[in-house]
Symmetry: C3
Subunit: 131 residues, 3 copies
């Protein structure tokens, strides 16, 4: 099986020749660093709201891939203000149960636009989470 | 086999609904970004000392998973002062031999607390390193 | 099969006991965060030129591993000036076709030396990209 690109109608695709939101190979889904931006609009005014949008995108992509949020084994969270990490945690609690993914969260000096406060990428092993 | 959470008595667990220190699936161990903090105490006053604590945690988790440090294929190191990267290297040399893991090391603007100088995450393929 | 270190004559190896440029296990290649530096020389004065050097190194390593750029499923790009992300994209377009890799791009506060503007790591599933 070759690498498969996964598209969800719920998640805006990037322009051609940029990146893929989600690729699947060998049962592993690689989800790009997602933000709350669609086109030129960023949804959410704080890290909680933006992270909810982002986790919603990741969920849509994984479900389009035939998986679920419980299949996520690792997320990496980049924020622009680490003091607000608890806001990301609050959003995360709405998308995971049981054993949460392994996680790294660091503050970077900038994301793709000033109003983007959070970027989250994920790795999932499809069908391997508890159902 | 579903995703398995790995716990080591040598590594403090996060509170519920935060993250897992280590998840294993399909023979791959994903270790969260670890720091030298346990509870509210950060061990080590420089990058060398903190990295030693961190690599010790990663080793404990991988051994609890049935693996070893030689199974590590990739680490990502986030530091707050890149000029001190050689201190992380010095600690790393005490935990690896032969072919060292693939590695990325970048300076971020902040980690989870001001006294945290280093955060390191790891991916390991259990049982696949030289013994 | 144990973890295998991959070396390319086109890519300078780090000194002993630092890191491996590329490790392969279970058909997955893990490529370290690569820069445009070889020895003490950094090639390229902007993000476009440096990213071309870096993608060239990744290509050489993957080909030495028996793979190809089309096998890359995920890249992580660290830049020091996110406003120049389009320069990285321009270089990327010269190395990928079809479904581009999943990608994360963030701005960090510093890389290994002031003249280093970009660092890129990659994960590839060898032989799984379109040929």
């Amino acid at each position: 099986m070759t690498i498969r690109r996964v598209i969800s109608p719920a998640v805006a695709e990037p322009p051609p020749e940029r990146w893929s939101n989600c690729l699947v190979v060998d049962g592993v889904a690689y989800v790009s660093g997602m933000t709350a931006r669609s086109g030129t609009t960023v949804s959410g005014n704080d890290e909680y709201e933006q992270a909810k949008v982002i986790f919603g995108k990741i969920k849509s992509l994984l479900e389009a891939a035939g998986g679920a949020m419980s299949d996520v084994v690792k997320i990496t969270v980049f924020v622009t203000e680490i003091a607000n990490n608890t806001k990301v945690w609050a959003a995360r609690r709405e998308f995971f149960t049981g054993d949460f993914p392994a996680s790294t969260l660091v503050e970077v000096s900038a994301l793709a636009a000033p109003e983007i406060l959070v970027e989250i990428e994920a790795v999932a092993h499809l069908g391997k989470g508890k159902r």
